[in-house]
Every structure is written in structure tokens, then in C-alpha cells.
Amino acid sequence: MSTVVEVNPLLLVPELIAMAVDDLKLVRREQAFLKDTQSRRCPVDYVIENEQGEQIGVRTPAQGPVEFVLAGDETASVKTTIDRVKQAYARIKVLDEVKRKGYRKVKEERLANGSIRLVVQRWR
């Protein structure tokens, strides 16, 4: 080992978020608005629906990371869904970046704590 680095990913690429949602087999609806608990219409680019039927809006600002728009308070299941999307996004992004550097994936496993472990290698 030589270095251990921890990174908090920023969800900057909207197309990869859509891919992450599809990888997770979550429902994605093309909706321009998400109605909140006070019946206000919040503009979004599309809506994700989790297994509990809760809707989470996804909005891409002109600059900066994608924003998640909630219809109401953040429930535990909504937070879990957002975390799953972040994890799936990070997986796609990391594999894309290491592939550009010539690495190939030699191992992928889901750990007991829900983490994903990837091992990639290349030769110099």
C-alpha cells in the first residue's frame, strides 16, 4: 500500500445519474414538476420513485452538482434511496475514470455492510 484516499463524490454528470437510477432498477418518470406536501410545484428535470412509492425529484442546476428535490420531509427510505443513487453513481464514475487510465476490473463484490469493493489492475 502507498496511499489511502477518501473522496466525497459530487454528482456532476446528469447522464451518469440517470444510468445509476436505471442500474438500480428504480422507476424514472419524465416530469417537469414535483408537488410537495403543500401542493407547491417544484421544477425538476425528472422524478425517481423508490420501492415505497416515494418520489424524489432530480434537478440539474446550470453549475454545480445535481440537486435532489423532496416532496416532503426526508424519511429513512428516501435517504436510503438517495444514498443508493450516490453509490451507484460513484461506481459508474470510478470505473469510467480508471478505465481511461488503462485499468481493468478484476474483482467486484458487495460487502456485508452494503459497501461495494472493486479491485482494478494495470501493468506498467
Partner: protein, 67 residues
């Protein structure tokens, strides 16, 4: 002689990514990871292990740079 370089990447349930390098000497590991870090997001911690401080093939001791 070819050298095998390896990255072990763990992605937590909340999306936090931890990357560990293997097979690199000196500051090469940080050079290797920097483009990946930039593409991913914000580095929240970095730990250099013993191997980081080992001599390069040329026998030159690499000094660490303050971030």
C-alpha cells in the same frame, strides 16, 4: 520487468469512495489518483503509508509536499 499496479476501491453505502493504491513507490500513487479524485469530487482525507516513503528505483528519496 513489468510491474503490476493495483487500486482497491471501496464505495460506502452513502457513496463515499475510499481508494487504496498498491505497487506504487514514492509520490507516484498520488499522481495516479489525482485525476480520479478531481473527476470524483472532494477529497476528505489522505493517508500516506510506509511504501510512500520508500526510495524510487533511482535511489532518490522523494520528499513530500505540503498540500
Amino acid at each position: 520487468m513489468a510491474v503490476k499496479l493495483e487500486l482497491s476501491i471501496e464505495i460506502d453505502p452513502d457513496g463515499t469512495v475510499e481508494m487504496t493504491t498498491r505497487g506504487f513507490k514514492g509520490g507516484e500513487c498520488e499522481d495516479e489518483l489525482k485525476p480520479i479524485e478531481r473527476a470524483l469530487g472532494k477529497v476528505t482525507s489522505r493517508k500516506r503509508t510506509r511504501e510512500y516513503y520508500e526510495r524510487t528505483k533511482a535511489g532518490t528519496r522523494l520528499t513530500t509536499q505540503a498540500e
